[in-house]
Amino acid sequence: MHLTVNGVAEEVRADPLTSLLRVLREELHITSPKAGCEQGGCGSCTVLVDGEPRRSCLTPLIAVEGCDITTLEGLSNGVELAPIQQAFYDLYASQCGFCSPGMMMASTALLSEHPNASREQIMEALEGHICRCTGYVKIIAAVESVANGSAAGGTNGAVASGGSR
């Protein structure tokens, strides 16, 4: 079965009902999508399928044949972080980091459709994503900082004014 992952054409051998999550992690060794609950409850496995956020643990391989898959590994150009990654870094939106890939993929999908997304839209987009460090305030602030253009775009943990929110 053929699919494109982060711009690379892949041919995979897994059974067609295998979850996309297991194909990504175990066959393609792409490990940013996390196997949190593996039943759709936590959001840590979220990837983009043709630009739409999808739970990879609930997505059978057969449903994504020929599709374009983007994982966190595909967000940056390898030199600079993507704006959402930089904002998570600058505003301390990752603590243990386990939920961060799913949070950032869902946010990426939201911001590509609504570049100036409101706080309410951000909260709806992230409603199914669980952060067990309970860092929601900083996560939402990081996404907001990209949406409202206040992201520092800076370096090395420089905390922008938004950091105090």
């Binding site: 009902l17 297991r22 759709g40 999808r54 609930l58 057969i62 449903a63 409603e127 199914g128 669980i130």
Partner: protein
Amino acid sequence: MTAPPELLTPTSPAEAAAVFGDGEGVTVMGGGTILLPELTYGKLRPTRVLVLGRAGMSGLERADGSVRIGAGTPVGELDGAPEPLVTAAKHVADVEIRAVGTIGGNLCATAGASAPRGDLQAPLLALGARITSVGAGGETTEDITAFLEHGTGRLVLSLEVPDGQAFGYARLDRPHTHHYTMLAVTAVRGADGVRVAASGVGARSQRLAGVESALAGGATAAEAAERAGEGLDLPTDALASSWYRGQMLPLLVQRALGQLG
């Protein structure tokens, strides 16, 4: 290791109906949100799986006074459907799951290990949806109450739902960490009286017969709500105890009836 299941991948509703046949030994996959974890964890080892993703069973078709909803329509694409389906659908799981989970799968969902599923069964019961399905005996169209009584074993093609009726919908919000409805009540005033149904009251949603007959007999909303628990065996599960559901159900009935105006 067992052999992987045989996959049936129809590309039209007619082909789906043909390969489903009498349904014997066939596991149906709509959006996959319920089946995938069961396959991943090996709780389900099907021999034949009917994958509906490319069967063209999605979409809404408006007719005179009703809307026909394809069984493969994602829960997140019900904005043009009759109320209270639109309102109830917004409370199902989250935006990513609503984008793939289908109304047909939600209708046919059996109870999960930790809680009842099938959040949209109660709105569909209150609306008096008519279900068109295939299986043993061919194609039938029947009231949802009858459809749910004979349980699974049929392939749903579409749901016909009346439009434009007064409705009420009241629920206990689920905790952030759980995707299924703890308890929700839907009321719809149709041509033949008020139909009231609840989700989260057992393996499947149920009409509240006591409430409906009290209302038919002229009772007030408060009086009718006192009969909310009649005929129900409220479950204790990961979301709530039977006692708590019993305390909250009459309140939700009153709230839903209050919205009917």
